[in-house]
Protein backbone atom coordinates (compact mmCIF):
# COMPACT_ATOMS: atom_id res chain seq x y z
CA UNK A 1 0.00 0.00 0.00
CA UNK A 2 1.37 3.35 -1.01
CA UNK A 3 2.37 5.96 1.50
CA UNK A 4 -0.81 7.88 2.32
CA UNK A 5 0.95 11.21 1.98
CA UNK A 6 1.31 10.76 -1.75
CA UNK A 7 -2.43 10.77 -2.15
CA UNK A 8 -2.70 14.21 -0.68
CA UNK A 9 -0.16 15.91 -2.87
CA UNK A 10 -2.64 17.54 -5.18
CA UNK A 11 -4.88 19.03 -2.51
CA UNK A 12 -4.54 22.69 -1.89
CA UNK A 13 -4.30 22.48 1.82
CA UNK A 14 -4.49 25.42 4.13
CA UNK A 15 -1.44 26.03 6.23
CA UNK A 16 -1.85 24.61 9.72
CA UNK A 17 -2.13 27.12 12.49
CA UNK A 18 1.30 28.12 13.62
CA UNK A 19 1.59 27.59 17.31
CA UNK A 20 4.61 27.85 19.52
CA UNK A 21 4.79 24.08 19.35
CA UNK A 22 4.78 24.15 15.56
CA UNK A 23 3.02 20.83 15.66
CA UNK A 24 3.35 18.97 12.41
CA UNK A 25 0.16 17.81 10.73
CA UNK A 26 -1.07 14.36 11.37
CA UNK A 27 -2.07 12.12 8.51
CA UNK A 28 -4.61 9.56 9.52
CA UNK A 29 -5.77 6.69 7.47
CA UNK A 30 -9.41 6.08 8.26
CA UNK A 31 -10.52 2.78 6.82
CA UNK A 32 -10.91 0.62 4.82
CA UNK A 33 -11.40 -1.26 8.08
CA UNK A 34 -12.99 1.22 10.42
CA UNK A 35 -16.22 0.94 12.37
CA UNK A 36 -17.72 4.12 10.95
CA UNK A 37 -16.84 4.15 7.28
CA UNK A 38 -19.86 2.02 6.40
CA UNK A 39 -18.02 -0.69 4.58
CA UNK A 40 -14.71 -0.36 2.88
CA UNK A 41 -14.42 3.36 2.35
CA UNK A 42 -10.93 4.61 2.98
CA UNK A 43 -10.55 8.26 3.86
CA UNK A 44 -7.14 9.79 4.30
CA UNK A 45 -7.40 12.70 6.66
CA UNK A 46 -4.91 15.46 7.04
CA UNK A 47 -5.29 16.87 10.50
CA UNK A 48 -4.02 19.77 12.49
CA UNK A 49 -4.72 18.50 15.98
CA UNK A 50 -8.33 17.51 15.54
CA UNK A 51 -9.07 19.98 12.77
CA UNK A 52 -9.44 18.54 9.29
CA UNK A 53 -7.26 20.25 6.70
CA UNK A 54 -8.18 18.00 3.84
CA UNK A 55 -9.45 14.59 2.90
CA UNK A 56 -8.95 12.16 0.10
CA UNK A 57 -11.26 9.24 -0.51
CA UNK A 58 -9.76 6.02 -1.78
CA UNK A 59 -12.50 3.82 -3.15
CA UNK A 60 -12.79 0.73 -5.27
CA UNK A 61 -12.26 -1.93 -2.63
CA UNK A 62 -15.65 -3.39 -3.48
CA UNK A 63 -15.39 -2.99 -7.24
CA UNK A 64 -16.96 -5.98 -8.96
CA UNK A 65 -17.20 -4.65 -12.49
CA UNK A 66 -20.98 -4.64 -12.66
CA UNK A 67 -20.96 -2.59 -15.86
CA UNK A 68 -18.62 -5.08 -17.52
CA UNK A 69 -20.74 -8.01 -16.42
CA UNK A 70 -23.80 -6.36 -17.94
CA UNK A 71 -22.22 -6.47 -21.38
CA UNK A 72 -21.96 -10.24 -21.13
CA UNK A 73 -25.46 -10.97 -19.87
CA UNK A 74 -28.85 -10.69 -21.51
CA UNK A 75 -31.17 -7.96 -20.38
CA UNK A 76 -33.10 -10.37 -18.17
CA UNK A 77 -30.03 -12.01 -16.75
CA UNK A 78 -28.54 -8.72 -15.65
CA UNK A 79 -31.62 -7.80 -13.64
CA UNK A 80 -30.56 -9.51 -10.37
CA UNK A 81 -27.10 -7.95 -10.51
CA UNK A 82 -28.43 -4.45 -9.97
CA UNK A 83 -29.75 -5.48 -6.56
CA UNK A 84 -26.17 -5.98 -5.44
CA UNK A 85 -25.20 -2.36 -5.91
CA UNK A 86 -27.21 -0.45 -3.36
CA UNK A 87 -28.06 -3.54 -1.40
CA UNK A 88 -30.06 -1.71 1.24
CA UNK A 89 -32.37 -0.31 -1.44
CA UNK A 90 -32.37 -3.23 -3.85
CA UNK A 91 -35.96 -2.66 -4.94
CA UNK A 92 -35.20 0.86 -6.13
CA UNK A 93 -32.27 -0.42 -8.17
CA UNK A 94 -34.47 -3.01 -9.80
CA UNK A 95 -37.17 -0.47 -10.55
CA UNK A 96 -34.71 1.86 -12.26
CA UNK A 97 -33.23 -0.89 -14.39
CA UNK A 98 -36.57 -2.44 -15.39
CA UNK A 99 -38.02 0.90 -16.36
CA UNK A 100 -34.95 1.82 -18.38
CA UNK A 101 -35.14 -1.42 -20.36
CA UNK A 102 -38.89 -1.07 -20.76
CA UNK A 103 -38.30 2.37 -22.19
CA UNK A 104 -35.78 0.95 -24.61
CA UNK A 105 -38.22 -1.78 -25.62
CA UNK A 106 -41.01 0.76 -25.78
CA UNK A 107 -43.36 -1.24 -23.59
CA UNK A 108 -45.15 -0.19 -20.47
CA UNK A 109 -45.94 -2.12 -17.34
CA UNK A 110 -49.66 -2.61 -16.60
CA UNK A 111 -51.25 -0.37 -13.91
CA UNK A 112 -51.44 -3.04 -11.24
CA UNK A 113 -47.74 -3.78 -11.66
CA UNK A 114 -46.99 -0.09 -11.33
CA UNK A 115 -48.89 0.11 -8.08
CA UNK A 116 -47.08 -2.90 -6.69
CA UNK A 117 -43.82 -1.33 -7.77
CA UNK A 118 -44.60 1.93 -6.03
CA UNK A 119 -45.63 0.20 -2.81
CA UNK A 120 -42.52 -1.94 -2.66
CA UNK A 121 -40.18 0.87 -3.69
CA UNK A 122 -41.54 3.22 -1.07
CA UNK A 123 -41.36 0.50 1.57
CA UNK A 124 -37.77 0.03 0.53
CA UNK A 125 -37.15 3.75 0.86
CA UNK A 126 -38.38 3.61 4.43
CA UNK A 127 -36.19 0.58 5.11
CA UNK A 128 -33.17 2.33 3.63
CA UNK A 129 -33.77 5.47 5.66
CA UNK A 130 -34.25 3.40 8.80
CA UNK A 131 -30.96 1.67 8.26
CA UNK A 132 -29.33 5.02 7.60
CA UNK A 133 -30.81 6.48 10.77
CA UNK A 134 -29.64 3.62 12.93
CA UNK A 135 -26.08 3.63 11.67
CA UNK A 136 -25.86 7.41 11.59
CA UNK A 137 -27.00 7.61 15.19
CA UNK A 138 -24.55 4.89 16.13
CA UNK A 139 -21.74 6.85 14.52
CA UNK A 140 -22.62 9.87 16.58
CA UNK A 141 -22.68 7.70 19.68
CA UNK A 142 -26.34 6.95 20.26
CA UNK A 143 -26.53 3.19 20.31
CA UNK A 144 -30.16 2.60 20.98
CA UNK A 145 -31.87 3.92 17.82
CA UNK A 146 -29.98 1.30 15.79
CA UNK A 147 -31.86 -1.50 17.44
CA UNK A 148 -35.19 0.30 17.23
CA UNK A 149 -34.80 0.94 13.52
CA UNK A 150 -33.69 -2.61 12.82
CA UNK A 151 -36.67 -3.93 14.72
CA UNK A 152 -39.04 -1.91 12.53
CA UNK A 153 -37.12 -2.51 9.32
CA UNK A 154 -37.68 -6.18 9.99
CA UNK A 155 -41.41 -5.72 9.32
CA UNK A 156 -40.63 -4.39 5.86
CA UNK A 157 -38.24 -7.21 5.15
CA UNK A 158 -40.93 -9.67 6.20
CA UNK A 159 -43.29 -8.22 3.63
CA UNK A 160 -40.55 -8.53 0.99
CA UNK A 161 -39.86 -12.07 2.01
CA UNK A 162 -43.49 -13.03 1.80
CA UNK A 163 -43.81 -11.31 -1.56
CA UNK A 164 -40.76 -12.58 -3.39
CA UNK A 165 -38.91 -14.89 -1.05
CA UNK A 166 -35.90 -12.65 -0.52
CA UNK A 167 -35.26 -10.10 2.14
CA UNK A 168 -32.35 -8.00 0.98
CA UNK A 169 -31.53 -8.52 -2.68
CA UNK A 170 -35.13 -8.94 -3.64
CA UNK A 171 -35.14 -9.07 -7.43
CA UNK A 172 -38.76 -8.07 -7.04
CA UNK A 173 -39.50 -6.72 -10.52
CA UNK A 174 -39.12 -8.06 -14.00
CA UNK A 175 -38.82 -6.21 -17.27
CA UNK A 176 -42.41 -5.53 -18.24
CA UNK A 177 -44.01 -5.75 -14.84
CA UNK A 178 -43.79 -8.01 -11.85
CA UNK A 179 -43.12 -11.71 -11.74
CA UNK A 180 -45.35 -12.45 -8.78
CA UNK A 181 -48.92 -11.59 -7.98
CA UNK A 182 -49.28 -10.23 -4.45
CA UNK A 183 -49.73 -12.91 -1.86
CA UNK A 184 -52.87 -13.48 0.14
CA UNK A 185 -53.06 -10.75 2.77
CA UNK A 186 -50.47 -8.47 1.21
CA UNK A 187 -52.70 -5.44 1.52
CA UNK A 188 -53.53 -6.24 5.14
CA UNK A 189 -49.83 -6.60 5.92
CA UNK A 190 -49.00 -3.28 4.32
CA UNK A 191 -51.90 -1.55 6.06
CA UNK A 192 -50.84 -3.03 9.37
CA UNK A 193 -47.37 -1.70 8.75
CA UNK A 194 -48.79 1.74 7.91
CA UNK A 195 -50.55 1.88 11.24
CA UNK A 196 -47.66 0.50 13.17
CA UNK A 197 -44.75 2.54 11.92
CA UNK A 198 -45.71 6.22 12.45
CA UNK A 199 -45.56 5.95 16.26
CA UNK A 200 -42.22 4.23 15.84
CA UNK A 201 -40.89 7.12 13.76
CA UNK A 202 -42.11 9.44 16.50
CA UNK A 203 -40.16 7.29 18.91
CA UNK A 204 -36.92 7.76 16.97
CA UNK A 205 -37.56 11.46 16.87
CA UNK A 206 -38.22 11.51 20.58
CA UNK A 207 -34.81 9.98 21.17
CA UNK A 208 -32.94 12.28 18.83
CA UNK A 209 -34.67 15.42 17.59
CA UNK A 210 -35.08 16.97 21.01
CA UNK A 211 -31.84 15.59 22.37
CA UNK A 212 -29.52 18.52 22.96
CA UNK A 213 -26.38 16.55 22.35
CA UNK A 214 -27.77 15.27 19.06
CA UNK A 215 -28.72 18.76 17.97
CA UNK A 216 -25.32 20.14 18.92
CA UNK A 217 -23.54 17.35 17.14
CA UNK A 218 -25.50 17.84 13.92
CA UNK A 219 -26.32 21.53 13.62
CA UNK A 220 -23.85 23.53 11.56
CA UNK A 221 -21.94 20.35 10.83
CA UNK A 222 -21.07 19.44 7.26
CA UNK A 223 -22.86 22.41 5.75
CA UNK A 224 -23.23 22.52 2.01
CA UNK A 225 -24.97 25.24 0.06
CA UNK A 226 -27.50 24.65 -2.69
CA UNK A 227 -25.08 26.05 -5.28
CA UNK A 228 -22.34 23.68 -4.16
CA UNK A 229 -24.77 20.80 -4.25
CA UNK A 230 -25.72 21.54 -7.83
CA UNK A 231 -22.13 22.05 -8.90
CA UNK A 232 -21.06 18.79 -7.32
CA UNK A 233 -24.06 16.93 -8.68
CA UNK A 234 -25.25 16.03 -5.20
CA UNK A 235 -28.82 14.79 -5.24
CA UNK A 236 -31.41 13.25 -3.00
CA UNK A 237 -32.01 14.25 0.60
CA UNK A 238 -28.67 16.06 0.73
CA UNK A 239 -29.76 18.43 -2.04
CA UNK A 240 -33.22 18.88 -0.57
CA UNK A 241 -31.79 19.67 2.87
CA UNK A 242 -29.92 22.55 1.26
CA UNK A 243 -33.23 24.04 0.24
CA UNK A 244 -33.67 22.83 -3.35
CA UNK A 245 -37.14 21.43 -3.78
CA UNK A 246 -36.21 18.86 -6.37
CA UNK A 247 -37.31 15.27 -6.45
CA UNK A 248 -37.35 13.19 -9.62
CA UNK A 249 -40.66 11.69 -8.52
CA UNK A 250 -42.14 15.17 -9.02
CA UNK A 251 -39.81 16.74 -11.57
CA UNK A 252 -39.68 13.91 -14.11
CA UNK A 253 -42.27 11.44 -12.85
CA UNK A 254 -41.72 7.77 -13.53
CA UNK A 255 -43.81 4.70 -12.70
CA UNK A 256 -47.11 6.26 -11.68
CA UNK A 257 -45.87 8.73 -9.10
CA UNK A 258 -47.78 11.53 -10.78
CA UNK A 259 -50.99 9.97 -9.50
CA UNK A 260 -50.08 10.35 -5.85
CA UNK A 261 -50.31 13.27 -3.56
CA UNK A 262 -47.17 13.90 -1.51
CA UNK A 263 -44.86 16.70 -0.47
CA UNK A 264 -41.16 17.19 -0.93
CA UNK A 265 -39.65 17.99 2.44
CA UNK A 266 -36.80 20.49 2.29
CA UNK A 267 -34.36 21.97 4.76
CA UNK A 268 -32.94 25.44 5.00
CA UNK A 269 -29.36 25.28 6.23
CA UNK A 270 -28.00 22.25 4.48
CA UNK A 271 -26.41 20.93 7.64
CA UNK A 272 -26.48 17.46 9.09
CA UNK A 273 -29.49 18.20 11.24
CA UNK A 274 -31.50 19.34 8.23
CA UNK A 275 -30.60 16.23 6.32
CA UNK A 276 -31.74 14.20 9.29
CA UNK A 277 -35.04 16.05 9.43
CA UNK A 278 -35.56 15.75 5.67
CA UNK A 279 -35.12 12.00 5.79
CA UNK A 280 -37.43 11.68 8.76
CA UNK A 281 -40.07 13.63 6.84
CA UNK A 282 -39.46 11.55 3.75
CA UNK A 283 -40.32 8.41 5.66
CA UNK A 284 -43.67 9.95 6.56
CA UNK A 285 -44.26 11.05 2.96
CA UNK A 286 -43.48 7.55 1.76
CA UNK A 287 -46.11 6.25 4.15
CA UNK A 288 -48.57 8.66 2.58
CA UNK A 289 -47.79 7.37 -0.88
CA UNK A 290 -48.07 3.76 0.21
CA UNK A 291 -51.43 4.40 1.86
CA UNK A 292 -52.82 5.95 -1.31
CA UNK A 293 -51.40 3.17 -3.43
CA UNK A 294 -52.77 0.39 -1.26
CA UNK A 295 -56.21 1.94 -1.23
CA UNK A 296 -56.34 2.47 -4.97
CA UNK A 297 -54.54 -0.60 -6.25
CA UNK A 298 -56.47 -1.86 -9.30
CA UNK A 299 -57.10 -5.42 -10.39
CA UNK A 300 -55.63 -6.63 -13.63
CA UNK A 301 -52.60 -8.23 -15.17
CA UNK A 302 -49.17 -7.68 -13.68
CA UNK A 303 -47.10 -8.38 -16.74
CA UNK A 304 -47.06 -6.59 -20.07
CA UNK A 305 -46.66 -8.48 -23.31
CA UNK A 306 -42.94 -8.94 -23.44
CA UNK A 307 -41.18 -10.81 -26.26
CA UNK A 308 -39.62 -14.08 -25.18
CA UNK A 309 -36.26 -12.96 -26.51
CA UNK A 310 -35.64 -9.33 -25.77
CA UNK A 311 -33.96 -7.54 -28.61
CA UNK A 312 -34.41 -3.82 -28.14
CA UNK A 313 -33.92 -1.72 -31.26
CA UNK A 314 -30.58 0.01 -31.73
CA UNK A 315 -30.45 3.14 -29.64
CA UNK A 316 -29.65 4.47 -26.26
CA UNK A 317 -31.67 5.65 -23.32
CA UNK A 318 -31.03 7.31 -20.02
CA UNK A 319 -33.56 6.72 -17.31
CA UNK A 320 -33.25 7.80 -13.71
CA UNK A 321 -35.31 7.40 -10.59
CA UNK A 322 -35.26 8.94 -7.16
CA UNK A 323 -33.51 6.26 -5.13
CA UNK A 324 -33.35 6.76 -1.37
CA UNK A 325 -29.86 8.19 -1.80
CA UNK A 326 -30.44 10.44 -4.78
CA UNK A 327 -30.63 10.24 -8.55
CA UNK A 328 -30.02 6.67 -9.68
CA UNK A 329 -29.66 6.60 -13.42
CA UNK A 330 -29.21 3.87 -16.02
CA UNK A 331 -27.72 4.72 -19.38
CA UNK A 332 -28.26 1.74 -21.64
CA UNK A 333 -26.94 1.38 -25.16
CA UNK A 334 -28.51 -1.30 -27.32
CA UNK A 335 -26.95 -2.69 -30.46
CA UNK A 336 -30.05 -4.68 -31.33
CA UNK A 337 -28.79 -7.93 -29.81
CA UNK A 338 -30.02 -9.76 -26.72
CA UNK A 339 -27.24 -8.30 -24.61
CA UNK A 340 -26.89 -4.63 -23.75
CA UNK A 341 -23.96 -3.07 -25.56
CA UNK A 342 -23.21 -0.88 -22.59
CA UNK A 343 -24.89 -0.25 -19.28
CA UNK A 344 -23.77 2.74 -17.33
CA UNK A 345 -25.05 3.15 -13.80
CA UNK A 346 -25.12 6.64 -12.43
CA UNK A 347 -24.77 5.90 -8.74
CA UNK A 348 -25.97 8.54 -6.30
CA UNK A 349 -23.60 7.45 -3.52
CA UNK A 350 -20.54 7.77 -5.74
CA UNK A 351 -21.35 11.32 -6.77
CA UNK A 352 -22.51 12.39 -3.33
CA UNK A 353 -19.34 11.07 -1.74
CA UNK A 354 -17.39 13.63 -3.74
CA UNK A 355 -18.91 16.33 -1.57
CA UNK A 356 -17.31 14.88 1.57
CA UNK A 357 -14.17 16.93 1.16
CA UNK A 358 -15.74 20.38 1.05
CA UNK A 359 -18.22 19.40 3.75
CA UNK A 360 -15.59 18.51 6.33
CA UNK A 361 -12.81 21.03 5.67
CA UNK A 362 -12.10 23.02 8.78
CA UNK A 363 -14.22 20.80 10.97
CA UNK A 364 -13.23 18.17 13.51
CA UNK A 365 -12.53 14.47 13.21
CA UNK A 366 -15.80 13.65 14.91
CA UNK A 367 -17.60 15.64 12.21
CA UNK A 368 -16.06 13.53 9.46
CA UNK A 369 -17.85 10.56 10.96
CA UNK A 370 -21.09 12.48 11.18
CA UNK A 371 -20.79 13.65 7.58
CA UNK A 372 -19.97 10.21 6.20
CA UNK A 373 -23.06 9.01 8.01
CA UNK A 374 -25.26 11.82 6.78
CA UNK A 375 -24.24 11.34 3.13
CA UNK A 376 -25.80 7.89 3.41
CA UNK A 377 -23.40 6.09 1.14
CA UNK A 378 -23.44 2.42 0.35
CA UNK A 379 -20.06 1.21 -0.76
CA UNK A 380 -21.56 -1.47 -2.96
CA UNK A 381 -22.94 1.32 -5.05
CA UNK A 382 -19.92 3.59 -4.87
CA UNK A 383 -17.59 0.89 -6.12
CA UNK A 384 -20.04 -1.18 -8.18
Amino acid sequence: MADPTTYLSHLELGEPDKTFLDSSELIINMGPQHPATHGVLRVILKLDGEKVLGTECVIGYLHRGVEKIAEHRTYTMFNPYVDRMDYVAAVSNGLGYCEAVEKLLNIEAPPRAKYIRVILTELNRIASHQLWLGTHALDIGAMTPLFYTFRDREEILKIFEKYCGARLTTHAFRIGGCQYETYEGFEQDVKKFLDFVPPRIDEYEELLTTNRIWVERTREVGKISAADCKALGVTGPVLRASGVKWDIRKALPYANYSEFDFDIPTGANGDTFDRYMVRMQEMRQSLRIIRQAVERIPEGPIMAKVPKVMKPPVGEVYHSIEAPKGELGYFIVSDGSTQPYRVRVRPPSFVNLQALDIMVRGQLVADVIAVIGTLDIVLGEVDR
Binding site: D17, T19, L21, S23
Partner: protein, 169 residues
Protein backbone atom coordinates in the same frame (compact mmCIF):
# COMPACT_ATOMS: atom_id res chain seq x y z
CA UNK B 1 0.49 5.00 66.93
CA UNK B 2 4.14 4.63 66.11
CA UNK B 3 4.70 4.44 62.38
CA UNK B 4 5.95 1.11 61.12
CA UNK B 5 9.51 0.77 59.90
CA UNK B 6 10.14 4.48 59.70
CA UNK B 7 13.79 4.13 58.86
CA UNK B 8 13.19 1.67 56.07
CA UNK B 9 10.53 3.80 54.44
CA UNK B 10 12.65 6.92 54.67
CA UNK B 11 15.57 5.33 52.87
CA UNK B 12 13.30 3.59 50.42
CA UNK B 13 11.50 6.77 49.42
CA UNK B 14 14.66 8.85 49.34
CA UNK B 15 16.28 6.25 47.15
CA UNK B 16 13.32 6.31 44.79
CA UNK B 17 13.41 10.09 44.66
CA UNK B 18 17.10 10.09 43.80
CA UNK B 19 16.65 7.34 41.25
CA UNK B 20 13.83 9.29 39.63
CA UNK B 21 15.95 12.42 39.56
CA UNK B 22 18.90 10.67 37.95
CA UNK B 23 16.71 8.95 35.38
CA UNK B 24 15.14 12.28 34.45
CA UNK B 25 18.43 13.66 33.20
CA UNK B 26 19.91 10.46 31.80
CA UNK B 27 16.99 9.10 29.79
CA UNK B 28 17.18 9.94 26.10
CA UNK B 29 13.49 9.57 25.49
CA UNK B 30 11.65 12.60 26.93
CA UNK B 31 8.60 10.51 27.78
CA UNK B 32 10.72 8.21 29.88
CA UNK B 33 12.23 11.27 31.55
CA UNK B 34 8.77 12.54 32.37
CA UNK B 35 7.81 9.18 33.82
CA UNK B 36 10.93 9.19 35.97
CA UNK B 37 10.01 12.67 37.14
CA UNK B 38 6.59 11.37 38.15
CA UNK B 39 8.28 8.62 40.13
CA UNK B 40 10.39 11.21 41.91
CA UNK B 41 7.40 13.44 42.66
CA UNK B 42 5.35 10.56 44.01
CA UNK B 43 8.09 9.37 46.33
CA UNK B 44 8.48 12.96 47.50
CA UNK B 45 4.79 12.88 48.38
CA UNK B 46 5.58 9.80 50.46
CA UNK B 47 8.33 11.73 52.24
CA UNK B 48 5.87 14.53 53.02
CA UNK B 49 3.56 11.96 54.54
CA UNK B 50 6.37 10.80 56.76
CA UNK B 51 6.84 14.41 57.89
CA UNK B 52 3.22 14.42 59.14
CA UNK B 53 2.19 16.74 56.33
CA UNK B 54 -0.55 14.76 54.61
CA UNK B 55 -2.12 17.85 53.07
CA UNK B 56 1.07 18.79 51.31
CA UNK B 57 1.44 15.21 50.16
CA UNK B 58 -2.07 15.20 48.76
CA UNK B 59 -1.50 18.49 46.97
CA UNK B 60 1.77 17.15 45.61
CA UNK B 61 -0.02 14.18 44.08
CA UNK B 62 -3.02 16.03 42.71
CA UNK B 63 -1.15 19.01 41.31
CA UNK B 64 2.25 17.76 40.26
CA UNK B 65 1.75 14.13 39.44
CA UNK B 66 -1.86 14.37 38.32
CA UNK B 67 -2.01 17.78 36.72
CA UNK B 68 1.28 19.31 35.71
CA UNK B 69 2.95 16.11 34.59
CA UNK B 70 0.01 15.28 32.37
CA UNK B 71 0.46 18.63 30.66
CA UNK B 72 4.17 17.88 30.35
CA UNK B 73 3.41 14.58 28.68
CA UNK B 74 0.82 16.29 26.53
CA UNK B 75 3.43 18.67 25.17
CA UNK B 76 6.11 16.02 24.80
CA UNK B 77 3.82 13.78 22.82
CA UNK B 78 3.22 16.52 20.29
CA UNK B 79 6.91 17.06 19.70
CA UNK B 80 8.75 14.73 17.42
CA UNK B 81 10.51 12.17 19.57
CA UNK B 82 12.85 11.03 16.83
CA UNK B 83 14.44 14.43 16.59
CA UNK B 84 15.09 14.78 20.29
CA UNK B 85 16.64 11.35 20.44
CA UNK B 86 19.24 12.26 17.88
CA UNK B 87 20.22 15.40 19.71
CA UNK B 88 23.22 15.70 21.97
CA UNK B 89 22.00 15.04 25.46
CA UNK B 90 24.49 16.97 27.55
CA UNK B 91 26.22 20.07 26.38
CA UNK B 92 29.90 20.55 26.94
CA UNK B 93 29.91 23.14 29.71
CA UNK B 94 31.72 20.82 32.09
CA UNK B 95 33.45 23.62 33.92
CA UNK B 96 30.32 25.57 34.70
CA UNK B 97 28.56 22.39 35.70
CA UNK B 98 31.32 21.36 38.05
CA UNK B 99 31.45 24.82 39.57
CA UNK B 100 27.74 25.05 40.25
CA UNK B 101 27.60 21.49 41.57
CA UNK B 102 30.50 22.30 43.88
CA UNK B 103 28.83 25.51 45.05
CA UNK B 104 25.59 23.66 45.82
CA UNK B 105 27.46 20.95 47.69
CA UNK B 106 29.31 23.57 49.68
CA UNK B 107 26.01 25.21 50.55
CA UNK B 108 24.63 21.91 51.83
CA UNK B 109 27.68 21.27 53.94
CA UNK B 110 27.55 24.80 55.30
CA UNK B 111 23.93 24.50 56.29
CA UNK B 112 24.53 21.12 57.84
CA UNK B 113 27.50 22.36 59.82
CA UNK B 114 26.34 25.79 60.92
CA UNK B 115 22.60 25.62 60.77
CA UNK B 116 21.85 23.19 63.57
CA UNK B 117 20.09 25.94 65.44
CA UNK B 118 17.60 26.30 62.64
CA UNK B 119 16.26 22.80 63.14
CA UNK B 120 14.91 22.36 66.68
CA UNK B 121 15.67 18.84 67.71
CA UNK B 122 13.00 16.57 68.99
CA UNK B 123 10.19 18.94 68.19
CA UNK B 124 6.90 17.20 68.80
CA UNK B 125 5.25 16.28 65.51
CA UNK B 126 2.04 18.22 65.08
CA UNK B 127 -1.14 16.26 65.51
CA UNK B 128 -2.08 14.77 62.21
CA UNK B 129 -5.77 15.48 62.52
CA UNK B 130 -5.73 19.24 62.10
CA UNK B 131 -2.83 19.56 59.75
CA UNK B 132 -5.01 20.83 56.91
CA UNK B 133 -6.59 23.47 59.10
CA UNK B 134 -3.17 24.67 60.20
CA UNK B 135 -1.98 24.99 56.64
CA UNK B 136 -5.12 26.91 55.77
CA UNK B 137 -4.85 29.25 58.74
CA UNK B 138 -1.22 29.98 58.02
CA UNK B 139 -1.81 30.59 54.34
CA UNK B 140 -4.84 32.80 54.78
CA UNK B 141 -3.64 34.43 58.01
CA UNK B 142 0.03 34.94 58.59
CA UNK B 143 1.19 34.53 54.99
CA UNK B 144 -1.82 36.10 53.34
CA UNK B 145 0.22 38.69 51.48
CA UNK B 146 2.79 36.35 50.00
CA UNK B 147 0.06 33.89 49.09
CA UNK B 148 -1.83 36.54 47.15
CA UNK B 149 1.36 37.75 45.49
CA UNK B 150 2.04 34.21 44.34
CA UNK B 151 -1.43 33.94 42.86
CA UNK B 152 -0.88 37.28 41.11
CA UNK B 153 2.26 35.82 39.58
CA UNK B 154 0.23 32.93 38.22
CA UNK B 155 -2.33 35.35 36.83
CA UNK B 156 0.44 37.16 34.97
CA UNK B 157 1.59 33.83 33.58
CA UNK B 158 -1.91 32.99 32.41
CA UNK B 159 -2.34 36.35 30.70
CA UNK B 160 1.05 35.93 29.10
CA UNK B 161 0.07 32.53 27.76
CA UNK B 162 -3.18 33.92 26.34
CA UNK B 163 -1.34 36.80 24.68
CA UNK B 164 1.20 34.43 23.16
CA UNK B 165 -1.48 32.13 21.87
CA UNK B 166 -3.50 35.00 20.40
CA UNK B 167 -0.65 36.64 18.57
CA UNK B 168 -0.45 34.06 15.79
CA UNK B 169 -3.66 35.30 14.18
Amino acid sequence: MAPVATGFFFYFLSGLTLLGGILVITQKNPVHSALALILGLLSQAGLYLMLYAPFVAGVQIILYAGGIMVLFLFVIMLVSIERTQREEQFNKLWLVGLLSAGALGALFVLVYAKGTGLFPEGAAPPAESNNTQQVGQLLYGQYMFSFEIASLLLLVAIIGAVVMAKRRT
